[in-house]
């Protein structure tokens, strides 16, 4: 394909359907949302207000208080997910990839089941289990003589966020497990054999040989967790409602944006402030992704086998 040829019509024809749908339904609305955040809607129509909406969001004490509350809750939500979900996921993958393990496929499928369930199911079943009234959790704690440890975890301001985060961990642990499992399986047998010849086996083998080799996959998991968590909404909505109770202790950016856009109780919905919050979320995710791409991924060594 070196000499000059007639225009290759098949290239645009192959690309067009996907690019048109993607551009019309995703890219244009994304930028239109950024644009909407620069306007305000009053009784007399729509006005351009520049960055006023952002000034309101960060400057008005009521808005700022809600925003920063949601932001820090979101940071905690992310940190708990990172600290609990990913190490357990990696550990499970390491166990599953042990050579000659029986029932590996069975375990793998079972552990992935929560990931395929909808948030509605996940939220409701954990509400049931942790409910002080129906009380499977209190009942089970009674059975092992630790009833005094039970608290209404989802209903207390101090514990609600942690509880919701752990439910999220329970739900999504399948993803790091699967990706790390795949990465571990792709380590060539020769590398493992060479390690064994050198007397590096068991835990030492995991820490010194396998872990460095799967670091790129761990990086991908981290960024997936980050984007997923800062975009989360459903789990909080189904367990705690749009008000993200008790007293906004589980409010994150997704629920804050939903309430602002659609209104709740006595407050009217405000599409422009909703778009402003979406823009801030956009910026947060973009900063995170760029930090990962330029800060972490470029320094990571990739091994070619």
């Amino acid at each position: 394909m070196s000499e000059r040829k007639p225009f290759r019509w098949h290239i645009p024809i192959f690309l067009a359907p996907a690019v048109i749908i993607y551009t019309a339904v995703m890219i244009i609305p994304l930028f239109a949302t950024l644009d909407l955040s620069l306007y305000t809607t009053g009784d007399d129509g729509i006005h351009f207000v520049g960055l006023d909406n952002f000034r309101t969001l960060f400057g008005d004490p009521r808005w700022a208080k809600t925003f920063w509350n949601a932001f820090w809750n979101n940071v905690w939500f992310f940190l708990i997910n990172m600290a609990v979900q990913n190490p357990i996921g990696i550990g499970l993958a390491a166990l599953l990839s042990l050579p000659g393990l029986r029932f590996a496929a069975l375990y793998r499928s079972a552990i992935f089941v929560p990931t395929i369930l909808s948030f509605v199911i996940v939220g409701f079943v954990w509400k049931l289990i942790l409910s002080p009234i129906w009380g499977i959790a209190p009942g089970m704690l009674t059975a092992i003589g630790m009833r005094h440890l039970f608290e209404p975890w989802l209903g207390q301001e101090t514990t609600a966020l942690i509880t919701v985060s752990l439910i999220s961990v329970w739900q999504f642990i399948g993803i790091p497990m699967m990706l790390i499992y795949a990465a571990l399986l792709s380590i060539p047998e020769e590398v493992i054999e060479a390690a064994e010849v050198d007397g590096i086996t068991g835990m030492a083998q995991f820490w010194r040989i396998k872990l460095p080799l799967i670091l790129p996959s761990i990086g991908i998991i981290s960024i997936l967790t980050f984007v997923g968590n800062f975009n989360a909404f459903d789990l909080i909505y189904v367990t705690q409602g749009a008000l993200a109770g008790p007293d906004f202790s589980t409010d994150i950016l997704g629920t804050f944006m939903y309430r602002t856009f659609f209104g709740f109780q006595l407050q009217l919905g405000d599409p422009n402030m909703g778009a402003t919050i979406a823009t801030v979320m956009f910026a947060i995710i973009l900063i995170g992704v760029c930090l990962y791409l330029f800060g972490i991924q470029r320094r990571m060594r990739r091994y070619q086998f």
Partner: protein
């Protein structure tokens, strides 16, 4: 977890104990829902962990759900939306992936990057404008609006994964086809597509699960009774019947069932796709 040799008995036992423990944690909530959905109201409260037995077995919950809720309709809606979006993502995604991976042309890299934005930036952030746009063209409360949104959401990752895969298809085969006078379209549909079927199955599973389970877009774009999906339907049903535990548990069981079946059908394919390097 002291591990010395490759297969010592205590080590194997420890590994299995750890995995069984986590498997129980993963499956326990599902188990609780399913067993209690088949019990009488009294039995649900008295012994939530007991299996349904002769005295406690009762399908009243399912009867309520089937007579009160519009579940067959919701189920049909979810099926239409999921299948239509999946078809669009797979066919158009594979076509775009072929254009990106097969030919060298000016703007190829740029187009790849443009499509990759969608992998990292969630489509939800455009919701405000999507709703405005859908209202402007009269698509609110239609299944079409959901299909469009989910197609746009699924395409970027599908194109990325599929184009990685297409690079592994041998050039000799395609060139042989060209020498035989096949058009580029025939080469794509009759030679390339059959070879990347495993990757397409992986993409199908990854695309399908979030679509089936999504609550956000049905809630915002299509909340009318006629267009409710199963996920939204179950959520509203729970809201209305909070105190009717039989019905709530039965509706949850019904919502679990289809995904579980789909997952079991596709799970081997999913694992093969992941381990053969589709997602790395």
């Amino acid at each position: 977890m002291a591990m010395s040799a490759r297969s010592s008995l205590p080590r194997t036992v420890a590994v299995h104990v750890a995995l069984i423990t986590y498997t129980l944690i993963a499956l326990f909530p599902v188990f609780v829902i399913v067993i209690n959905s088949m019990k009488s109201r009294k039995a649900i409260f008295r012994e939530p962990l007991a299996l349904p037995g002769p005295g406690t077995f009762d399908l009243v919950g399912f009867q309520t759900v089937l007579s009160q809720g519009n579940f067959p309709l919701y189920f049909g809606n979810s099926l239409i939306v999921t299948v239509a979006s999946l078809a669009i993502v797979l066919v158009f995604g594979a076509m775009a992936a072929f254009a990106l991976s097969e030919y060298r042309w000016r703007g190829n890299l740029l187009m790849g990057l443009y499509l990759a934005i969608g992998i990292m930036i969630p489509i939800r952030l455009g919701t405000v404008a999507i709703l405005k746009g859908m209202a402007a063209v009269g698509l609110t409360n239609t299944l079409t609006s959901l299909v469009l949104v989910y197609s746009a959401q699924g395409l970027p990752l599908a194109i990325f994964i599929l184009s990685e895969f297409m690079r592994t298809v041998s050039d000799d085969l395609k060139n042989a086809g060209r020498i035989d006078g096949l058009s580029e379209y025939r080469i794509f549909f009759t030679l390339v597509v059959p070879l990347i079927r495993p990757a397409m199955a992986t993409v199908a599973v990854f695309t399908m699960i979030p679509i089936w389970n999504d609550l956000w877009f049905p809630l915002i774009l299509a909340p009318s009774e006629a267009t409710k999906t199963v996920t939204l339907g179950a959520q509203t049903f729970i809201g209305q019947y909070v105190t009717n535990w039989n019905a709530v548990l039965a509706s949850l069981s019904l919502a679990i069932l289809p995904v579980l079946v789909l997952y079991l059908v596709f799970s081997r394919q999913l694992i093969r796709g992941i381990t053969s390097g589709a997602v790395k």
